[in-house]
């Protein structure tokens, strides 16, 4: 029963595909997968936007959108209609073709990157051998699209935003990729399903063997999500859009549906990197504890995705934005060294796996914690203390 439910969508696809003649089966299967990805993630986008607006509202002690439909649930629909019917303004000086192409180029790679994510048992649209590499390869072209948008708008703010976006994305791509290298090293595979399979089984018979439950995995996950936040231009790394300085950066001249596409691209990017983080560190579609296998695997994946997005929203509601040079400093002087050290941590964990004396596990944890904690402290001290940054005391005159 549980497997039937788990494999429901897989079997459904097989059933539909088998109705077609043999020559057509491959393209039809692809189309079905692509359609499913688009439908699922587009609706997830709508839910996320609503959840973000509601969640931010609640964080800020206000109810959030609550006028359209019951509890404001139809708000995404209203937004969609508004975006669709708004006037599409193209600045006179804009570079028409590039201005037009940029939004599509933002959407395309993120949608492509969903195709390699294993969203459930046997639910990977295209199980590529070098899936991780594919993910980063397509993700890299988003930068070009952002630049195109900023440049083609012929607006100074847009150009500033585009420059910021490119600098930021290039800087954070390094820690993003390097933090995944530890996983690749341990799992010995670039295939995302292979990495998920590597996280099968349970520690002590109850706790899943997710990578996040190891010292290097925990550090790697945090580093990865931080870099992912920057990579998807979310607060506190939302400098390219910094609405208080350069208004909306590369989006400033976009309106109507093109703007909606950018918006969608940002959310898709957030979901894609969250999905990758789940796959690499949170066991993909695997349950966290033994005895929960009866829950369909795709529910685990999307549940974890929901949690990740909630954290993104929470962070956005709390933190102010960094400055451009601090962003770079953070990437090069903090994130990058830590990701490199994390490789050592992963190696240490890997090579101490055969320790079997009493208290081996705490000892391994201690080793990992010191290996990562000490550089963390030293680096962050340097980052803040180097500029004399810290809490202050004040004097009073009476």
């Amino acid at each position: 029963m549980s497997t039937a439910l788990d494999q429901l969508f897989v079997n459904l696809k097989h059933w539909v595909v088998s109705r077609f003649p043999a020559d057509w089966q491959l393209p039809v299967g692809m189309l079905i997968s692509a359609g499913a990805i688009i439908v699922v993630f587009a609706s997830l986008f709508a839910i996320t936007v609503l959840a973000e607006r509601k969640g931010l509202g609640r964080i800020q002690n206000r109810p959030g959108p609550n006028r359209v439909g019951p509890f404001g649930l139809l708000q995404p629909l209203a937004d969609f209609l508004k975006m669709l019917t708004k006037e599409n303004i193209i600045p006179q000086a804009a570079d028409g073709l590039i201005y037009f192409l940029a939004p599509t180029l933002v959407i395309l790679p993120t949608l492509l990157s969903f195709s390699v994510l294993p969203m459930g048992r046997n639910m990977t649209a295209v199980d590529v051998d070098a899936g991780l590499l594919f993910f980063f390869a397509v993700g890299a072209s988003v930068e070009l699209a952002v630049f195109m948008a900023g440049w083609a708008s012929r607006n100074k703010f847009a150009l500033l935003g585009a420059m910021r976006a490119i600098a930021q994305m290039i800087c954070y791509e390094l820690p993003l990729i390097l933090s995944t290298v530890a996983v690749v090293m341990v799992a010995g595979s670039l295939s995302l399903s292979g990495i998920v399979d590597h996280q099968a089984g349970y520690y002590g018979g109850w706790l899943a063997r997710w990578h996040v439950f190891t010292p290097w995995g925990l550090a790697g996950f945090l580093l990865f999500m931080t870099a992912a936040t920057a990579e998807s231009n979310r607060a506190p790394f939302d400098l390219p859009e910094g609405e208080s300085e350069i208004i909306a950066g590369h989006l400033i001249e976009y309106s109507g549906f093109k703007y909606a596409l950018f918006f969608m691209g940002e959310y898709f990017g957030m979901m894609a990197v969250s999905g990758l983080g789940i796959t690499l560190f949170l066991g993909g579609w695997r349950p966290p504890f033994a005895g929960l296998e009866w829950v369909p695997t795709y529910l685990w994946f999307f549940g974890k995705l929901g949690v990740c997005i909630a954290v993104f929203i929470w962070v956005r509601g709390t933190l102010p934005r960094l400055r451009a040079d601090q962003l770079m400093n953070f990437a090069w002087k903090f994130m990058l060294p830590l990701t490199l050290i994390n490789l050592l941590g992963a190696a240490a964990w890997h090579y101490t796996a055969d320790w079997s004396f009493l208290g081996a596990t705490p000892a391994r944890w201690l080793l990992g914690a010191t290996l990562l904690g000490a550089p963390y402290l030293a680096l962050s001290r340097r980052l803040f203390g180097g500029h004399g940054i810290g809490p202050r005391t004040y004097r009073f005159a009476t």
Partner: protein, 224 residues
């Protein structure tokens, strides 16, 4: 220095507390769903001026067109024309009393300077309109509000005003007695003097909160 990152964690805890709090703590979720829910306005609340009448929306107007408010109004948003009778003699009554609420800044100075307790502040605030001249330039009959309405929106203040007017009237009568058999004063003054006595009686004829549909105004013959 604390462990780096604690400040961010502290902030995150604070926002989480507010997130949860906004679901059960009315101190945190202070939003009022406006058209459905309304706050009761405090007694002192004010929006734009109105003219108080007793009994009749036109004849009962307390305004005597003395033009003090017109003169004192800082943005000069009041325009008054005194009524005249057939022979051209001025009557203590405003033929025109226009108030441009797109200019008015609700400062309440007209209320303070009015010696006749005639102009008071309304609390009506849902005045948005797409008709700038039709609906934002209020005329005498739009401005006229009954004394009951005044009691409804500013109970304490209105009671004070009524007491004071009654007091003044009593004094005036006491003064008038020695003067004895002098002929009755002109009609509008009499109307005004008689008026304050009325509000003492709590229930009144249905003079209504809103200006009546426009009964034949005494101003009209004069204007003709």
């Amino acid at each position: 220095m604390n462990l780096p990152g604690t400040g961010i964690i502290k902030g995150m805890v604070e926002t989480a507390r507010n997130f949860v709090g906004s679901y059960h703590d009315p101190e945190r979720l202070t939003t009022i769903e406006y058209p459905e829910e309304r706050l009761t306005q405090p007694e002192n609340a004010r929006s734009f001026p109105m003219l108080i009448f007793d009994d009749d929306p036109v004849k009962g107007l307390r305004c005597v067109a003395c033009k003090i408010c017109e003169k004192e109004c800082p943005p000069q948003c009041i325009y008054i024309v005194q009524d005249r009778d057939e022979r051209g003699k001025p009557r203590k009554f405003p033929r025109i009393f226009d108030l441009d609420i797109s200019v008015c800044m609700s400062c309440q100075i007209c209320v303070e300077v009015c010696p006749f307790d005639s102009i008071k502040m309304n609390t009506e605030f849902e005045l948005s309109t797409d008709d700038r001249f039709g609906r934002l330039l209020l005329h005498r009959d739009d401005l006229a509000k009954s004394n009951e309405y005044y009691h409804q929106i500013h109970a304490t203040e209105a009671a004070e005003v009524d007491a004071r007017l009654a007091d003044e009237k009593a004094k005036a009568e006491a003064k008038a007695k020695p003067a004895a058999a002098k002929p009755a004063s002109p009609v509008p003054t009499a109307a005004k003097a008689a008026a304050p006595a009325q509000p003492a009686a709590p229930v009144k004829s249905p003079a209504a909160d809103k200006p009546a549909a426009k009964p034949a105004s005494p101003a009209e013959p004069a204007a003709a």
